[in-house]
């Protein structure tokens, strides 16, 4: 599935963040839904739950209850809608159109746990024979389609659609994501109700695949769909049908043939309009011109979203931290593990999280793992919890490598007389990050660690410096994680961008650990959930020891709605499909 | 020229300035540009006001029509009586009726005085139509006739010209044509030839003289050029530092100046029979009008000045008492006599 691709386009403007996916083995302590608690800022938070029940009770009937027109603000207007080409790289393409219109095989529930979507009769498991690893290493998935699953033109969904989706992924010019699909050797369509997908080797993140699935009868027979669905998707296999699409607005209406009655929309129409400027977006919410939005976290959100506006903040898949580039051209000394640990021991990360996010959500949580979001799955453990301010540890670590502190209040100095000062980059003009820089500069002074702060425009930092490894040694930015815990590219020992390999690869911390690299690779091959979680936990501990980067906090998702106009919003806070994932359960009031 | 019969050709006083005081704000302070000026313009005569630049003669002219600079100039005392009507008290509407139609004005520099973006014919048409309900084409024909009258060749085509397309002399003729368009009773000509070449000056003056002869109007000629006065005016009023120092028929004043300043001016005037050489000049410079000397304003430059001159402003009086010349000098009797 393409959730992983959501990452890159999320941060426009000053909060740009490069994308990256995480993967990790299970770390036991968290309960099943042990994600970061949503921070309820408004007193009216009881409403959504009530509506949820109402919606469920109504679901058995055929009538779409409530009616009315729901108006939503979209922060980034999709350039085009094709779910296979680069159009799909923008999160808002998925969040505002594809997710609502196109069906998928496996899907994430609102808490980002994988489950069978309404398209499937059941999830393929080892127990039901749907998931098999043969002795020769081939891996077979058997998808049984739901007998009622039907496209909006009345055509049944069949295994041919699964086959077609596979081919379109590979055959389309400019296809965005072929990972996983390349391992598929065959999709058997003998039984229209059963798609048997064979992989050449075990592929653990298989649940990501086939989101969306494409209508073979509608798009085929050509499997190159590069020029299709740029500005309209005229067929639906989801709760909503695309009524119209322009640069001004995008209108969804209920898909009358959607077979899952629990997701029959309650409103007659959804109108999405672009509001790319956060301030204007807030005004539009306040005036009631738009009823709900899912803005990027912005400073002062808690203060500004008062009155009739209710907002919830929490979850989030963007993890922010101090990314360390061990190969930084501007480093004055080797950025050894001891130095990385020492820096981690000089930080009060609780305070940092408070300063960074305190004006957005209450009680922001510190991120304690290096590659996963606590809001997604069970992958994120407390690996980094033991790092707190500890002068004794800092002294021990640095003294061991020959650093001295001639002035007990000054900076550490190494044998060559070089002071322990690290160049630190982030996005210029990003208030949150600059606040963190100011705080940390003060915070580490008593520990003898200094900073040279040089900030860049987002374009310069992420498009020029980051890909060419010309940053840091330290940089502060956010990276994305995915529902599936893959982190292989981030820690692949052969994927360190360098001049020698033409700066390909995405291991931009230049973290060269064979052990971590092997564990990350194993995570992507282990199809057994429990075994996979164990591998993630193992990698998590290795990362906490080696500190390739220092995790700080998760950027929370926000969903804001005008509580005099909308009921039922705010439950998709954690959803990788965006805060509007469950608009079929929203209703218009007043 | 429309209705000559209506016009009085008597020698009765047409325009009478009585004890006029005009103040102008300058960067250096408030200047009394005209200080108790009185003069009379009779029907069918040319009265020249003569004096050095800065003596206040232009402000005197502007005061008559209420055309002083709006923010900086004002009449503080005195009257301007036109046919007995005090123009300083006239309503703006009444003033507009008189301007152009009864009292018209010719300005010094026609290049800046004519609107640069308006065709000269239109400027004359505008003058006519401001006062008479004339149709545009009729007014236009009159404008062409007027241009012809002031000696502009090919007037039909010239009417279509912009001011910058005409020569300096032509422009001044346009000014004259515009000023006489409505056959005004009084024509105020403020240095009408100063901006022109000497040869052109003569032609323009000749035109002005011819027109004034043709028409029944009186002319108030403002000039610094005694030569112009001699050939053109019936009477002359000599102005110095905001005050009139001598006033009378040209022949009498020229023949026997009563005021030392007049005498000095006349002495510095080039004559045909002059031997080449330096002309005598009046020593010193005119006083600062922000704070003029308390007594006679010419006293600092006057060879006859005594204590009384430096302390008491001289009265204006007839001298000789039975003559037609008034003078403001404590020592008028001695001027020319010595």
């Amino acid at each position: 599935m393409s959730l992983l691709l959501v990452a890159a386009a999320c941060g426009s403007g000053d909060s740009d963040q490069p994308s990256d996916a995480g993967a990790a083995p299970p770390a036991g302590e968290q309960s099943g839904d042990g994600r970061t608690a949503a921070t309820e800022v408004s007193p009216e938070t009881a409403a959504p739950t009530g509506t949820d029940d109402a919606a469920t009770s109504e679901a058995g009937t055929e009538t779409a209850g409530g009616g009315g027109e729901l108006i939503l603000a979209v922060e980034q207007w999709p350039e085009c809608l094709n779910p296979v080409t680069s159009c799909a790289n923008a999160s808002w393409t998925l969040w505002s159109v594809n997710t609502h219109v196109l069906p998928r095989l496996m899907e994430l529930d609102l808490q980002n746990n994988y489950q069978a979507s309404p398209t499937l009769a059941e999830e393929p498991t080892t127990d039901n024979g749907g998931l098999q690893v043969a002795d020769d290493g081939t891996f077979t998935l058997t998808y049984r389609l739901h007998p009622d699953a039907v496209w909006s033109d009345g055509t049944s969904m069949t295994s041919s659609d699964v086959w077609y989706t596979w081919r379109a992924r590979l055959d389309t010019d400019g296809t965005l994501n072929t990972v996983g699909y390349e391992l598929i050797t065959d999709v058997n369509t003998d039984d229209p109700q059963v798609a048997v997908v064979t992989f050449s080797e075990p592929y653990a993140p298989w649940r990501d695949l086939f989101d969306p699935i494409l209508p073979a009868h509608h798009l085929g027979p050509d499997t190159n769909i590069a020029d299709r669905w740029n500005d309209e998707i005229s067929i639906s296999g989801g709760p909503w049908l695309q009524h119209s699409w322009s640069q001004d607005q995008h209108v969804l209406v209920p898909n009358e043939l959607y077979w899952d009655t629990e997701r029959r929309p309650l409103v007659d129409r959804v109108v999405m309009v672009p509001r790319e400027d956060t301030d204007s977006e807030v005004v539009a919410l306040q005036t009631g011109e738009v009823m709900a939005a899912s803005p990027q976290p912005f400073p002062g959100a808690a203060e500004r979203l008062g009155g009739d506006l209710t907002f919830v903040g929490g979850g989030g898949t963007f993890i922010e931290g101090l990314w360390i580039n061990q190969n930084a051209p501007d480093r004055r000394f080797e950025i050894t593990r001891n130095i990385r640990q020492a820096v981690a021991y000089s930080l009060d990360r609780e305070l940092i999280a408070d300063v960074a996010l305190g004006s957005i959500i209450e009680d922001p949580q510190v991120l304690q793992c290096a590659g996963w979001s606590p809001a997604v799955g069970e992958w994120c453990a407390d690996d980094f919890a033991h790092y707190g301010q500890d002068l004794a540890k800092v002294t021990e670590l640095l003294t061991a490598e020959g650093w001295t502190r001639p002035d007990p209040d000054g900076l550490w100095v190494n044998a060559e007389g070089t002071e322990l000062v690290l160049q630190w980059n982030t996005v210029a003009g990003n208030k949150r990050r600059e606040d963190v820089q100011a705080l940390v500069s003060e915070m580490t002074a008593p520990f003898g660690i200094g900073w040279e702060i040089i900030n860049y425009d987002p374009g310069e930092l992420f498009q020029n410096r980051l890909p060419s490894m010309n940053f840091g040694p330290v940089a502060l930015f956010a990276n994305s994680t995915s529902p599936d815990p893959t982190v292989f590219r981030l820690y692949d020992i052969d994927g360190i961008p360098s001049e020698a390999n033409g700066f390909t690869g995405q291991n931009f911390t230049a973290y060269a650990s064979q052990e971590a690299s092997d564990l990350a690779a194993a995570i992507d091959r282990e199809v057994d959930a429990a075994a996979r979680l164990a591998l993630v936990r193992q990698l998590g501990e290795v990362l906490a020891t080696d500190v390739p980067w220092i995790p700080l906090y998760v950027l929370p998702n926000l969903v804001v709605w005008n509580s005099t106009l909308v009921e039922g919003a705010g439950n998709a806070l954690f959803s990788a499909y965006g805060g509007f994932a469950d608009i079929y359960d929203w209703r218009v009031i007043g | 020229m429309n209705a000559p019969g209506v016009r009085s050709s008597s020698a009765a006083t047409l325009l009478s300035v009585r004890n006029l005081r005009t103040e102008i704000d300058t960067e250096n302070g408030t200047v009394t540009a005209a200080d108790g000026v009185s003069l009379d313009l009779h029907g069918d005569e040319v009265l020249a006001v003569v004096g050095e630049s800065g003596c206040g003669k232009t402000m005197l002219a502007l005061s008559i029509l209420g055309l002083l600079p709006r923010r900086t100039g004002r009449i503080v005392d005195g009257q301007v009586l036109f046919r007995g009507e005090d123009l300083t008290q006239a309503t703006p509407a009444r003033l507009r009726e008189i301007r152009g139609a009864e009292i018209a004005m010719i300005f010094q520099d026609a290049l800046t005085g004519l609107h640069p973006l308006q065709r000269v014919g239109d400027q004359i048409v505008e003058m006519i139509r401001a006062h008479e309900p004339a149709r545009r084409d009729a007014a236009r024909r009159r404008a062409v006739d007027l241009l012809d009258l002031v000696g502009i060749p090919d007037p039909d085509r010239r009417a279509e010209s912009f001011p910058h397309e005409l020569s300096g002399g032509m422009r001044q003729r346009v000014m004259i044509a515009m000023a006489v368009a409505l056959d005004p009773a009084v024509l105020i000509a403020d240095e009408p030839t100063t901006a022109l070449d000497v040869t052109v000056q003569a032609q323009v003056l000749e035109t002005l003289a011819r027109i004034s002869g043709d028409l029944n109007g009186s002319i108030l000629l403002i000039t610094h050029d005694f030569g112009v006065v001699a050939g053109f005016a019936d009477r002359v009023a000599v102005m110095y530092a905001g005050r009139l120092v001598e006033q009378g028929p040209v022949a009498e004043v020229y023949g026997r100046p009563r005021h030392p300043y007049t005498a000095g001016l006349l002495a510095s005037m080039p004559r045909i029979d002059d031997v080449p050489g330096r002309l005598p000049r009046i020593a010193g410079t005119p006083p600062n009008l922000v704070s003029p000397p308390p007594g006679c304003r010419f006293a600092p430059r006057c060879s006859l000045a005594g204590d009384i001159c430096r302390e008491v402003p001289p009265e204006t009086r007839l001298w000789p008492p039975d003559g037609g010349v008034t003078v403001a000098c404590h020592h008028a009797e001695q001027v020319g006599a010595g």
């Binding site: 306040q286 310069e460 | 507009r96 300005f107 609107h115 640069p116 973006l117």
Partner: protein, 335 residues
Amino acid sequence: MIAYALRRLAITVPVLVVISFGTFWAAGQISSPTAQLTLNPRISPETKQAYVELLGLDRPLHVQYGKWLGNFVTGDFGTSLVKNGQDVWPFVERALANTLLLVAAAVSLSLLIGLAVGTISAIRQGSLWDYGSVTVSFLGISIPVFWLGLMLQLFFGLYLANWLGVGPPLLPTAGIYSPGQQGFDLLDRVRHLVLPTLALSLQLVAVYSRYMRASMLEVMSADYIRTARSKGLRESRVVVRHGMRSALVPVTTQVAIDIGQLVGGLIVTERVFQYPGMGLLFLDSLEGGDYTILLPTVMIAAVVVFALNLVADLLYGVLDPRVRLGRDRRVARNV
């Protein structure tokens, strides 16, 4: 005059080429259509490379530029890099129409108000009105458009409606049509034009009124105004037909020249009010790394600005018969 115009054009062409290349180069430096792919972990380097080749981004810069320029001058705007091969022109055309409408509305409104305010200030120099309008125009020039836009949104969208106790906002705060509106609706369209026009106009009114005030002050002390009064003309005619007629000459040309300075405010205004014009298209294509849209957007803006400068010069000649040779006379900038 014609020769002069042609000479000006001849100078303009190389300037436009330089601008276009500079834009082309800068677009490649600060944004890239593949940048978002680079950091996407699920996209293999091979996929990215295939994508780069598909878009022709691996060719040398001057080759890409030459290809683009060749198409552009022959009127072929090509297809979008980022919008999956959709034709560029419809996007640009729509944005251009919207922006021209907004600019025309703002400039007309600003001229109407600015010229009147400036004229009254000049003829009542030193009055309370004059000091008031000078102060207001100083504020108008100092207030950032961005902030003004937000204040207008809040005031007309929120506070005024709340204060009057009416439900929906008095004026829509963004977009060009109400959400859900299908097809053309003149009233709705005009209502959506009001706030962006106001936001763009305040600064213009301030600038225009100061130009007009300075120009009128100069003109009204001219000799020919005194001549006009001496002719017995009504004061209104003196001010309008003689004073404003002259004062408008430098102001008009300055207004045409100033159109270029509108660009910044326009971008901000369109962003704040989500007004789908050239400014918003520029921002979107910049953020999306789509030089295929960025370039025509910038080029059209540049051509319009240059054209208006030329028009301004020629206009001076038309408005002022004294300047038929295209000599450059503009109102002093520090008015």
